[in-house]
């Protein structure tokens, strides 16, 4: 581990800059800068922008759920309000000659989110757990419902829209092209992710963890649990507002949908899917979710059903999320026994894939047989076209499903044994 700081030679002083911690950030920045050269098409840029915004939102959400232990069911409100405020600012730039360069817009979204989170947080952070969750749900629904009433700010049913290209320009950048917006979003992504990471390393961030794990003990150490939760809540609201501002810049429109329970539920799903116990968890969750959403919604009408099943399976079997699943493998890797797992994994891969695909196909078949318009009996799955009302595809799929399930079940004990021995450290002789 190489150390840059001059003073770090003293053993008692911890090094100021640790390269192994900085390197991932530099690599991520370089990757973000290089991505448009690989995926330069308009739709790819749109997806990447959406991903970046979701990452900021999910990271901000995890400041509450993962680091503070507070489950919020109404967090879309803070992102949405920041976004609405930014659209209004954009319109003021356009019509009222407000001098505000576009790159700074998300900051004001963040400040608006912060302001609102402070107001709500003053009474909602009194308690954690179930009560906090219920209050967040109630406040979220309250604001989502008032968005139809308060037309001046929320624009009623059609929402409010703006134009990002009307602001003062510098160096000839007017943010008319998708690529310029991408770099702006990527810049804010790195900045906010770094800020959130550093926040989690401050004494404040550590105390938030302490309050999450045992609020009484933290209180006896002299920290007000309520105050600690309020600070976390406000910080989270700030970063949600930044995500909202970026959303406003990207899509130039915000509607009631940005505030409602569905959006709040999706961010919970993303964060939990990625893994709440790790800083990188929400990032992985956001990337995987956006990819799944984009790809699945192209091919199937019932993609939300699959996501629901995936989410429930994650909660029941892998509460540490995808990142937790990856992190489980670090011990076998460090013990040098990772190779023990390769063969059982390879044996399991094909039957498991067939199991997943055949159950999904059965669902598709059932859905088609029930809901396709009358007379339309042909459907296509994996490039094969067949009659969904005939008996043959049903038999084939059921046989595949049952067969692959039997094989998976028979393989499971050997995989379990391999896992046990890969995680077992022999005493040195």
């Amino acid at each position: 581990m190489s150390v840059v700081s001059e003073n770090a030679s003293e053993a008692t002083q911890s090094p100021l800059i640790v390269w192994s911690q900085i390197l991932p950030w530099i690599m991520a920045s370089v990757l973000l800068a290089a991505l448009p050269f690989v995926f330069g098409s308009g739709s790819a840029l749109t997806i990447m922008n959406q991903m970046a915004i979701t990452i900021i939102f999910a990271l901000a959400y995890n400041m509450l759920l993962g680091q503070g232990g507070m489950l919020s069911f109404g967090h879309a409100v803070y992102m949405g309000l920041g976004g609405f405020f930014c659209v209004h600012l954009m319109n003021m730039v356009e019509y009222d000659n407000l001098w505000l360069p576009l790159p700074f817009l998300p900051l004001f979204g963040g400040l608006f989110g912060l302001m609102f989170a402070t107001i709500i947080g003053l009474f909602s952070t009194r308690r954690a757990g179930t009560v906090f969750a219920m209050i967040s749900l109630g406040v979220g629904e309250l604001i989502a419902a008032s968005s139809i009433i308060v037309v001046a700010f929320f624009g009623g049913e059609e929402g409010v829209s703006g134009d990002r290209t009307m602001g003062p320009t510098a160096l000839g950048i007017d943010f008319a092209s998708q690529k310029e917006v991408y770099y702006l979003t990527a810049f804010w992504l790195v900045l906010s992710a770094l800020a959130m990471f550093l926040f989690s390393r401050t004494p404040m961030g550590r105390i938030a963890n302490a309050v999450r794990d045992n609020e009484e003990r933290a209180e006896f150490l002299g920290y007000s649990q309520r105050y600690v939760r309020l600070i976390s809540f406000c910080a989270s609201g700030f970063f949600c507002g930044i995500a909202g501002g970026l959303f406003a810049i990207n899509f130039e429109i915000l509607t009631q949908e940005n505030l409602d329970l569905t959006s709040s539920g999706i961010i919970l799903l993303i964060t939990f899917l990625g893994g709440v116990g790790f800083f990188i968890g929400p990032i992985i969750g956001a990337i995987v979710f956006t990819m799944l959403q984009t790809v699945l919604s192209l091919y199937t009408e019932i993609w939300q059903l699959y996501l629901g099943v995936l989410f429930l399976m994650t909660v029941m079997f892998f509460p540490a999320g995808l990142t937790g699943l990856l992190a489980m493998h670090s011990l076998p890797y460090r013990l040098g026994k990772f190779s023990l797992l390769l063969v059982p994994y390879a044996k399991m891969a094909l039957p498991a894939l067939v199991l997943v695909l055949s159950s999904a196909s059965l669902l598709e078949l059932l859905f088609h047989a029930r809901h396709a318009s009358v007379g339309e009996n042909e459907m296509t799955l994996f490039g094969i076209t067949f009659d969904s009302h005939a008996l043959t595809p049903w038999i084939v799929l059921v046989v595949l499903l049952v067969g692959s399930f039997m094989i998976v079940k028979r393989q499971a004990p050997s995989l379990y044994d391999a896992w046990q021995s890969a995680n077992h450290m022999e005493p040195r002789s």
Binding site: T130, G138, M316, P319
Partner: protein, 318 residues
């Protein structure tokens, strides 16, 4: 005056319906400490199951069978889902029930599609029970009131007057002691979860024809149900009853009196802004009471939490 009586009755219907959901939710909460986010989804399942049964066997069979099916589904969810997640703590439990609510909505759309079902009240109840000054009161609403009242009295009797009720009440407060006395506490938990969801299912069966049977019905009522039990005080059955009726009446009365906010402001001596179209406060001036009806329960919840965080009837600060 007659309008007030009609509104009182309408509000009673809404309130009692809410209470059928809230009572089960409160029982489950005080027992396991977990708020079942999917409770309203079981209400929706009740309506859909009853509709499906009624297409073959008629409304009355659906009324009897559907709640049992829903209760069975609830018990299975407790046994094979919730009990599994229980060891991870309360927050994952809450997330589990939230995911379950999403999944049930998707499943309902998968099986029955997105449009509203033609689930209707039985012909035997399709008449006007009585009329007050020209306002007809349908017999089906009377039927809903009787069912809900009957269930409430039955529940009260079982919980306070029977041996089973005593054991349940004891298991709520001292599960370990009750277990040591030789009762099967996990089974009691599963049973209460099943009965709670069956009650929600029954509410769905009788509300389906009146309020519509569609995939959004769970989330539409669900958040109101949570607001209600927070207002009443988490874990308090009487609080749930009081808050349900309060919210039922609040919403009914707000919907039927078309008072403009502008009139109220002018009464207190404010003058409307000259340039109404560009005023930032224009929404306040054009607002009417029926418009704010849907957000009243949430406003009430925020007010209650600020003034009395444990809820109206809650004993401890939750």
């Amino acid at each position: 005056m007659s309008l007030i009586i009609v509104n009182l009755l309408d509000g009673l219907v809404t309130g009692l319906l809410l209470f059928m959901l809230c009572s089960g939710l409160t029982l489950i909460f005080s027992m396991m400490g977990v708020l079942n986010f999917a409770h309203a989804s079981f209400y929706m399942l009740g309506a859909y199951f009853a509709y499906q049964i009624s297409t073959y066997l008629g409304f009355w069979v659906g009324l009897l069978v559907a709640p049992f099916v829903v209760g069975l589904a609830g018990a299975l969810v407790e046994r094979y889902g919730l009990r599994r997640v229980h060891k991870y703590g309360h927050v994952p439990e809450l997330i589990f029930t939230f995911g379950l609510a999403l999944l049930i909505e998707e499943l309902v759309q998968f099986i029955w599609g997105k449009s509203q079902m033609a689930y209707e009240q039985p012909p035997a109840l399709d008449f006007t029970a009585f009329a007050i000054a020209g306002n007809a009161f349908p017999a089906y609403k009377m039927f809903m009131i009787f069912i809900a009242m009957g269930i409430f009295l039955l529940l009260l009797y079982i919980l306070t007057r029977t041996r089973i009720g005593m054991i349940i009440q004891a298991a709520l407060s001292y599960p370990h002691t009750v277990q040591n006395l030789g009762h099967n506490v996990p089974l009691i938990f599963m049973g209460v979860f099943g009965v709670g969801t069956a009650l929600a299912g029954l509410a769905g069966v009788i509300a389906g024809p009146a309020l519509g049977t569609f995939p959004g019905m769970a989330f539409q009522l669900g958040s109101i149900v949570f607001v209600t039990i927070v207002i009443g005080g988490l874990g308090s059955l009487w609080g749930a009853l009081f808050a349900s009726l309060l919210i039922g009446w609040l919403q009914t009365f707000a919907a039927s009196y078309n008072i403009r906010f502008a009139d109220i402001f002018e009464f207190f001596g404010f003058t409307p802004p000259v340039d109404m179209a560009n005023s930032a406060l224009r929404d306040l001036w054009t607002l009417t009471v029926p418009q704010i009806g849907p957000i009243l329960p949430y406003l009430l919840m925020v007010a209650v939490l600020v003034i009395r965080p444990q809820g109206l009837f809650g004993r401890r600060e939750t």
